[in-house]
Subunit: 239 residues, 2 copies
DNA sequence: CGCCGCATTGACGTTCGTCAAGTCTAGTGG
DNA sequence: CCACTAGACTTGACGAACGTCAATGCGGCG
């Protein structure tokens, strides 16, 4: 009963425009408010879910920062993405009813737990929700195409520049500075995501600092010349 | 009128178990048969759709073989996947109502054109179809995670071995040999997909031949020792 | 204060890309 | 039927980019 004081409602959530479809009427809003079952707090360094766990729900990040990664039995480890407030994780679990990656909080976090069968039920009635779910999954597919481009055809500097620009652009969409950011992940995690070793990440940061493109103090990054970063990303391969 | 002689019906399509949900009753089957608007033939070397084109439909491959690729303005080119009979292409277009990659036939092909608004409409009524669509998109996300692992953490031999095993496994699911396959793509396209240059692809093939793992005659591949390929893929990184 | 994890930097080695030459095959046209 | 050509493929020599290994620095926390 008293638990209801932390009443969960998408309709008055300030992340609504990131998670939820726009243009719902009040009837639809009420239906959508039934989506979120509970909230869940995740301490920094702990997992929201693990590879192999049964899939039941998607998670909308309210606060905090996550990485998703796959670990193979032969000890390989690949970070497949970094997720921040307003983004949805768990889509990988739908196909086989179990998660195929780990989702780990890189800082204390809170997520909305959205049971997937409830999503399917309500999206049969609310067309905008149905389409929204499709768009979210499609967006993830497109994002991963971009990562494949990065991993398959870019050199170290290009990868790191693209990574920084992507992070800062997403942070800006959430009202943060477009020139200041704090990395929530280690050099090793960045390297895993970008397909390079932590030493190469560190060296590339140092080169950017030397070239006056960014300032680095630990995990605090100041982007001094965003245009230079953009030029680095789109450098035509010389030959 | 006469066009109707090539009546399109999923319910008696031999690829049904690949494209469509199982366990439908006859009423649902009838609904699902309304999904496919038309069929379309694509000549080898031509595109099913291009980056930037308006998205209206998904495509189920009936026969033939496709690649999807993204081309950036700075001349980069990344193959994001190879698709064969029974697989669905076009999912990338949902999010922004336009395609974000090119789909090119690598051999003469035929596809079922499935208007996406019809998918959304019918999947509101047929729960199994709704769930099936979600699974297809989730499967694509998981597949791409695998590609990220490959691109981010494997060496050339491991990549090519994983690629061959994946191809042959999918072909086997379609009733083809598990040791013989014909590559529909060039070395350059393989290289683009795997993040390596065509010369490296060629050299790696030659090494596999030298080691007695496969036989190569042009695009015809005979896998002599599938276990050796599996061992190559899962070689723990030595250090 | 000292430890520990993270980060930086240097020296060196390996892998793969680059460039170039040459081969093979399928398709074309005489 | 055969010569010719273009595109795909193979192979070698070389170099650049990045990984590996190791030493050291730095900041936070008990």
């Amino acid at each position: 009963m008293l638990k209801e004081t932390i009443k969960v409602a998408c309709s008055n959530c300030n992340l609504r425009e990131l998670c939820m479809p726009l243009g719902l009427n009040s009837e639809e809003l009420n239906r959508v408010d039934e989506l979120v079952a509970t909230r869940r707090s995740i301490k920094r360094g702990t997992a929201l879910f693990h590879n192999g766990e049964k899939f039941t729900s998607l998670y909308a990040i309210r606060t905090g920062f996550f990485k998703t990664s796959i670990n193979t039995e032969d000890g390989r480890d690949q970070v497949t993405g970094f997720q921040m407030a307003g983004e949805i994780i768990g889509l990988d679990g739908i196909v086989n009813e179990q998660h195929t990656c780990d989702a780990t909080a890189l800082e204390d976090a809170e997520v909305c737990v959205i049971p997937f069968d409830r999503i399917e039920e309500i999206s049969r009635e609310v067309n905008a929700l149905q389409h929204h779910v499709h768009k979210i999954m499609s967006r993830e597919i497109v994002r991963e195409h971009g990562v494949m481009l990065l991993l398959g055809s870019m050199r170290a500097e290009e990868r790191l520049a693209a990574f920084l620009l992507n992070l800062v652009q997403r942070l800006q969409a959430r009202g943060f500075s477009k020139s200041e950011l704090i990395l929530r992940m280690t050099r090793e995690e960045i390297g895993s995501y970008l397909g390079m070793k932590l030493e190469t990440v560190s060296r590339t940061f140092s080169k950017f600092v030397h070239d006056g493109v960014i300032e680095v103090k630990q995990r605090h990054i100041h982007i001094q010349d965003a245009d230079a970063l953009k030029r680095i990303v789109s450098q035509p391969v010389c030959h």
